[in-house]
């Protein structure tokens, strides 16, 4: 049985030349856990091809194999033929959605994620849980023990949330300290600005301190990554168009994000909308301006902080930063600008931590197994802090650390820099 022909589906050249050499098996985190071909990139490509060519039916089980992929992109990078199994997995999720749409995704990605105010409302219970002191009570009375392990792991992921969402408190324009040398657009990521608001606030402070006028459009919507990840490429494109139009109204030299995932998606808008005549050029122009925060900071004359942070620090590469954006030297260099930091490399730093957005919720065992290896590596470094510029990775690492009761702090590299600047003003 072949698929209906009017679908948006992967092109033949995306899978045809897979020679099944198996190189991708060597770098795939899910293969490493399951040691099963079905959980491998080569397996995904075979399944995609067979279902697109009508040899296999696109069953829910087949689609599930596409969802089991962490989208860490390691296979894309290693494939000597240039096949991109991780991309193919996302495209197949989209094919599945076109054949068997799941209604809740319209609501989640069309109505909730696309509306910042609703996202804030949806996360209100979490803010209340923390600000009312309920969370402290749970910890003081050791009530977490009573939670089932899975729920406890999810609770453990939760960072300290601000009382008010950052979007409400951050001014639309933050003036540069001293002479303004750059007009920087700041893209407020959903997870980063809602859950790690203190870090995003730090991003803006560091930018302003280094001669940037920071323009933060408040109406930005989700970058589109989770939406595309759940097979709704159509809605992700709508997010993209909205964000592009929004930033076109601002005068910016660059658009900076402090979220690895947002960065990778924003840089992909050009590609995503390449087939839409009205948008192709605008999307390409938008994507060309996008920079990860560490990428941008290391490209300008950056003020070396006088404050010290005495700590052994290691760094976990977010897949969407290292692989999708090839940014991996900059965050390391940025942290090593700070006096006192004893930087140590994390073994397998570029292996996925298992977060992959929501994988801890949807694929708990696999996600945890991938995380356990990350924790073994983290432990071997003896680091007191692990830095990573991705909210998903940060939450996942926090879960791992709490599970093992390790004494390691998870931070965004930018938060360290901000702290070093602050210490210079108020030396401890």
């Amino acid at each position: 049985m072949s698929l209906p022909c009017n679908l948006t589906q992967p092109q033949e050249n995306e899978y045809l030349n897979c020679i099944r050499c198996g190189l991708c098996l060597a770098v795939c985190p899910t293969y490493r856990v399951h040691k099963n071909e079905t959980a491998s990139p080569r397996g995904l490509v075979a399944l995609a091809r067979k279902s697109l060519e009508g040899e296999l039916e696109l069953t829910p089980n087949l689609a599930e194999q596409m969802y089991a992929c962490l989208d860490c992109l390691a296979c894309n990078d290693i494939c000597p033929v240039g096949i991109r199994p991780a991309d193919l997995a996302l495209e197949m999720r989209h094919v599945q959605e076109q054949i068997r749409p799941s209604g809740w995704k319209d609501t989640l990605f069309g109505e909730l994620i696309a509306k910042p105010a609703r996202m804030e409302a949806a996360t209100l219970p979490l803010r209340i849980y923390q600000s009312s002191g309920l969370r402290r009570l749970v910890y003081t009375l050791h009530l977490r023990r009573l939670l089932p392990t899975r729920l406890r792991d999810l609770e453990g992921m939760l960072p300290r949330l601000p009382r008010r969402p950052l979007r409400r408190v951050l001014p639309e324009v933050t003036k540069a300290r001293g002479e303004s040398r750059y007009q920087v657009g700041f893209f407020l990521g959903c997870a980063q600005s809602l859950l790690f608001a203190a870090e995003s606030a730090a991003t803006v402070r560091v930018l302003a301190r280094n001669g940037c006028t920071v323009i933060t459009p408040r109406d930005t919507v989700c970058c589109g990554m989770p939406t595309a990840g759940y097979g709704r490429m159509d809605l992700a494109k709508a997010h993209a168009r909205f964000n592009i139009a929004l930033f076109e109204k601002t005068a910016t030299d660059v658009i900076v994000t402090d979220c690895a995932t947002c960065g990778s998606k924003l840089k992909d808008y050009g590609q995503m909308l390449a087939d839409e005549p009205e948008w192709a050029e605008r999307a390409a122009a938008f994507s060309a301006k996008v920079r990860d925060i560490s990428e941008f900071l290391m490209s300008i004359p950056l003020e070396k902080p006088a404050g010290r942070i005495a700590a052994r620090v290691t760094y976990h590469d977010p897949c969407h930063l290292r692989r999708a954006q090839k940014v991996w030297q900059q965050p390391r260099a940025l942290m090593q600008l700070i006096d006192g930091i004893d930087f140590v490399e994390l073994p397998e730093s570029d292996w996925c931590c298992g977060s992959a957005g929501s994988q801890l919720i949807t694929h708990y065992e696999t996600s945890l197994a991938v995380l356990e290896r990350k924790m073994d590596n983290l432990k071997s470094t003896g680091a007191e802090m692990v830095a990573s510029g991705c909210p998903g990775c940060q939450m996942q690492l926090t879960t791992g650390i709490k599970r093992r009761q390790m004494d390691v702090k998870v931070v965004h590299p930018i938060a360290l820099l901000d702290q070093a600047y602050a210490r210079e003003e108020n030396p401890q």
Binding site: L16, N17, C18, I19, R20, C21, G22, L23, C24, L25, A26, K35, N36, E37, T38, S40, R42, G43, A46, L47, K50, E55, L56, E57, T59, N61, L62, Q65, C79, P80, V81, G82
Partner: protein, 459 residues
């Protein structure tokens, strides 16, 4: 496959290790060739005992059992053409013992070869065989196919390091061959018999491997030539001068440009051939002296340029390139058929010349690279299998490749094995008497013909 058998398998392995969905069967239908055939069930055992029970069950029911690891094979040896059970040993991946005093490691078959190397190298030991698939193939598969690799020129092939094996026989019995001893002449050498038997005589589940001291120094040179003939003649000149490099790898122009396109290493694109020469050893001075002598010989044999890698990362880059040649070729055509014919090394220039003629005759490109130092060449035919005319030509070309190898005193395969693809040519290579003896060996070990049926030997 009937459901009571599935239930029995689940009782042996556990639910997580028995796969039956159409998706699972589809991804266990292939190896690294273009061949495919679905198995009826896939099992992923975690111990020799489980393997033994599965094989007992298969013997009782006369069901084919096809053993595999990561399916990186290039001869369709692990494609289950007769259906039945695919026995995938990737979950048997424990390193059971590293005996430093005797320099022997005891491993399960599913250990990834690169992981094995990393582990023993931590202790200053060395497991030399290095098939290009080192990161995505298992030691069990390497032994079952007696895998080679670039370093085999100096260090020998997989089989040279196998001291003993744990094998599950066709009736489910478990035997242990060999041991931790270097010398052993008691009885027939069953270890050697199972090594390279491609899953047709027994299921290798564990191995005792001999290790050597890790060489401390290595120097690698990239040598450019204006003709592939010059390059292949240089190979002989280096070896007859008494230098035994760890590796002597040959790549022709197409191979080089493919890698460069895939990896952007800055390889020269206007050369006809490259030799990759590596010397290694315990003393830096002798390693350096050897690479310098090799470089001089190259220059005398009209090498255009000799570049010695300056540091470890440059060296790693060159090897990464070499290991990616075969897969990178797929950028050029949907299919490739890579053989691994072997000739006496003095015949390499002639073999290369004749292979080029075959390519011209049939109008399909043959890319040539390989382990020139030991006469093991990888002519790869590039084609599109969807075009029946091309496929027909490919089949004729392969036959001619094999004829060239045999005519020059060589053989069909140096390291990939026979599997399904070379089976039709076996008798021509070995002669009827040898084939008949091998058939008798097969019958005595597997009278019901359930272990990887239809592979290696002709019917």
């Amino acid at each position: 496959m009937n459901s009571t058998l599935i239930i029995e398998l689940i009782k042996i392995i556990g639910k997580d290790g028995v796969l039956t969905s159409p998706e699972d069967l589809a991804v266990y239908s292939y190896d690294s060739t273009f061949e495919e055939h679905h198995p009826d069930v896939v099992v992923l055992p975690t111990s020799t005992e489980q393997v033994s029970q599965v094989v007992k069950l298969a013997a009782r029911e006369r069901i084919p059992v096809v053993t595999r690891g990561m399916a990186s094979g290039l001869a369709a040896a692990s494609v289950p053409f007769s259906g039945g059970i695919v026995l995938c040993l990737t979950r048997m991946d424990r390193l059971l013992e590293l005996d430093e005093e005797n320099a022997v490691v005891h491993v399960e078959a599913g250990v990834i070869t690169a992981n094995l190397q990393t582990e023993v190298e931590k202790k200053g030991l060395f497991y030399p065989p290095d098939p290009s698939s080192i990161r995505h193939s298992t030691i069990g598969g390497n032994i079952a196919c007696n895998a080679g690799g670039p370093r085999c020129l100096k260090y020998g092939v997989t089989g040279d390091y196998v001291l003993g094996l744990t094998v599950v026989l066709a009736d489910g019995q478990v035997i242990h061959t060999g041991g931790k001893v270097i010398k052993d002449v008691v009885g027939y050498d069953l270890t050697a018999l199972f090594t390279g038997s491609e899953g047709t005589l027994g299921v290798i589940t564990e191995a005792l491997l001999r290790l050597i001291t890790r060489p401390e120094f290595a120097r690698t040179a990239l040598v450019e030539f204006n003709s592939i003939e010059d390059a292949s003649q240089t190979v002989n000149a280096i070896l007859t001068a008494g230098i035994v490099p760890a590796t002597l790898e040959l790549m022709d122009h197409t191979a080089i440009s493919c890698i460069e396109e895939a990896m952007h290493l800055g390889l020269p694109l206007d050369v006809a051939a490259i030799l990759l020469v590596e010397t290694d050893g315990q003393e830096e001075s002798s390693v350096t002296r050897e690479i310098e002598t090799a470089a001089e010989i190259c220059t005398r044999h009209s090498a255009r340029k000799v570049t010695v890698a300056r540091d470890e990362s440059e060296r790693q880059g060159l090897w990464k390139a070499r290991r990616s040649v075969a897969p990178a070729l797929a950028r050029l055509a949907p299919n490739k058929l890579g053989e691994d014919i072997t000739v006496p090394r003095s015949a390499i220039p002639e073999a290369v010349r004749r292979l080029k003629l075959v390519s011209a005759k049939y109008g399909l490109p043959i890319v040539i690279f390989g382990h020139a130092g030991d006469g093991n060449l990888h002519p790869n035919i590039l084609f599109d299998k969807r075009d029946p005319q091309q496929w027909a030509r490919v089949e004729q070309m392969v036959a001619e490749e094999f004829a060239i190898a045999l005519d020059l005193g060589g053989t069909l395969s140096g390291e990939h094995g026979v599997g399904t693809l070379k089976r039709p040519y076996l008798e021509r290579a070995l002669g009827p008497v040898s084939v008949e003896i091998q058939k008798r060996i097969k019958r005595s070990l597997d009278p019901q013909n359930i272990l990887n049926p239809g592979k290696v030997l002709p019917d």
